[in-house]
């Protein structure tokens, strides 16, 4: 019976620099300097220490190091995007950029709960994070926590930041322009824009860019971010009298999917009769739609990469200019528009 009980793994003693020093027959200061490639000592001493350290499997305790260096090689990622739709790619980019620098990432999901946010921020500060990245599900909303006057640098990514900090966001106007120009290029002239709620800043940016690019033909239908709205809006268009559009530029992939479904139900062929473009490049929706959606990718992973490198720079005391940085989008061409692919 006794053997069936798991003992804690913490039992086995960890190897410290004392062990290395003893095994190499030097003092711990010499061992330290040998391993960190500083101080002066005989080349063969340095080599021997290094070899011994690797032989006995020594790994320096980051807590002890952090105590001295004031760097924990740790950052916190705060998000209120429970669904992970936006946070996941941002997180992937942050992690990818920082792992090479030995920096690990605390993920703190705070929902929309200010108390929970506060708890997480304090826990991170207690653990001496070198910086914090705040990210969310809307770039025109703040997280429900006060991140000003923290003793560590804060970078905002895909969420509203403060004016004296660095904020990374997607250039939604650019994305919308890409989409509309692509439709024009493949010969579509009657383009309708079906999009989300008016109170989203990005809805306006995209709609404005659409109007500019589409010239006189503009018609914007505001609704919600769901398939059923895409379905319903499309039905409305085809049920009312008048000339029908030959292209739909949708505010997100879910709306686009609803639109494609509605068109199919009416026997209208996508892309032959009508082209449809989505927004977000949310794989699960965009790639599984029949036909797969041509859509705008906000390059959130790249956004995460840059946010990661920026907190790192700030943590190391390198100067960084504050302000909002809009990152370009990318058009992902699949089959819902027809036409040739962009580089042919």
């Amino acid at each position: 019976m006794r053997e069936d009980i798991l003992k804690t793994g913490g039992a086995k003693k960890r190897i410290t620099i004392h062990d290395v020093a003893a095994a190499a027959g030097v003092s711990i200061s010499t061992a330290s300097k040998a391993l960190n490639n500083n101080g002066r000592m005989g080349a063969e001493t340095r080599e021997r220490v290094k070899r011994v350290a690797s032989d006995i499997g020594f790994r320096p305790n980051a807590l002890a190091r952090g105590l001295l260096s004031k760097r924990s090689f740790t950052i916190g990622l705060l998000t209120n995007d429970t669904y992970g739709r936006f946070t996941l790619p941002v997180m992937a980019g942050v992690s990818e950029a920082l792992v090479d620098h030995g920096v690990s990432v605390f993920l703190c999901a705070i929902e929309d709960d200010p108390a929970l946010g506060q708890i997480h921020v304090e826990a991170m500060l207690d653990k001496q994070v070198d910086g914090i990245i705040a990210t969310g599900k809307r770039l025109d909303r703040r997280l429900p926590v006060d991140l000003s006057n923290l003793p560590v640098p804060v970078v905002y990514a895909f969420t509203e930041g403060t004016s004296d900090s660095v904020t990374f966001r997607s250039d939604d106007a650019h994305g919308a322009t890409l989409a509309v120009e692509w439709l024009l290029q493949i010969g579509r002239r009657r383009i309708v824009h079906i999009t989300g709620p008016k109170d989203f800043f990005s809805v306006h940016e995209r709609a404005d860019a659409y109007s500019k690019a589409a010239g006189g033909s503009e018609a914007v239908m505001y609704g919600v971010w769901s398939e059923s709205w895409g379905h319903q809006a499309t039905a409305e268009i085809w049920n009312r009298p008048g000339e029908k559009p030959n292209a739909l530029f949708c505010g997100n992939d879910q709306i686009a999917r609803g639109a494609v479904d509605a068109l199919r139900e009416r026997g209208i062929n996508v892309p032959d009769d009508v082209s449809v473009v989505g927004f977000d490049n949310w794989e699960i929706v965009a790639a599984q739609t029949r036909p797969p959606l041509t859509t705008v990718d906000m390059e959130l992973k790249e956004l995460g990469r840059q946010a990661g490198l920026t907190v790192l720079a700030l943590a190391e005391g390198r100067p960084v200019e504050p302000g909002v940085r809009k990152l370009p989008c990318r058009l992902v061409v699949r089959q819902s528009c027809g036409g040739v692919s962009p580089r042919e």
Copy 2:
């Protein structure tokens, strides 16, 4: 110009226990004991120290504490589920269970790259994590990293573990039984099971449980985890001669969605003519299908909670029995089956 450059936030000096001691007019040992509610001292001294500490905003440095206590109040979550579909709810559960205990979570996305996995594991060990939770996208596959013989406890969640460790997983047979029994209960007798690839262990578990529960009527169609497979399989069934099923139990929500679409295209009403059940309760698919899907939820958040509490127990040296723990599933009733809701 100069003012446009962000200075590092690290500039402002942090408050240490020395500051508290000085401000309260006591030694640092007394200050420490006062704050930690141990040692003996005058009640008013203790109160005064505490008040002063909170007044000047003292927060103990977790790195220094960790050095002494051998506890970092930090754990690592390793995952190869880039998409986050399974990891996200697990993560949410872990985080929710541990935040109350002051434990923060490092998220390490290792894709399927053994080298990256190794790097992350070493980074976590260097940072003295109290334990590691391994999670993935398949419960019959191991992560591409060796987690045995680590100096910290490891708990597996929704991924294959070692026999001497604790593994949490969903009880897929239970989930499938719930689905089929529900269909039987609402009067469906001709139930077909459309599911994923045969090489998934969970596919077998679900199919076996289905066969057992459905009695003689069983018919299993193996394919892939996509909408298009659900669509195609449904088309096959209705294109071939013979009696048609009046219920489809699908291996995941995407397949179910494809099936529902295929039925609608044929003018077959869901749920009046045919009931459809999915698996996963992946909100974005299940809730947006028309009609919304009745589906099996694997309770991954609860699974994460339990995994979190278990690493914590192990980290604290509390005994835990090794082995695989199967957690029950839950049927989420929406509109794709008809019938009454279960508790009416």
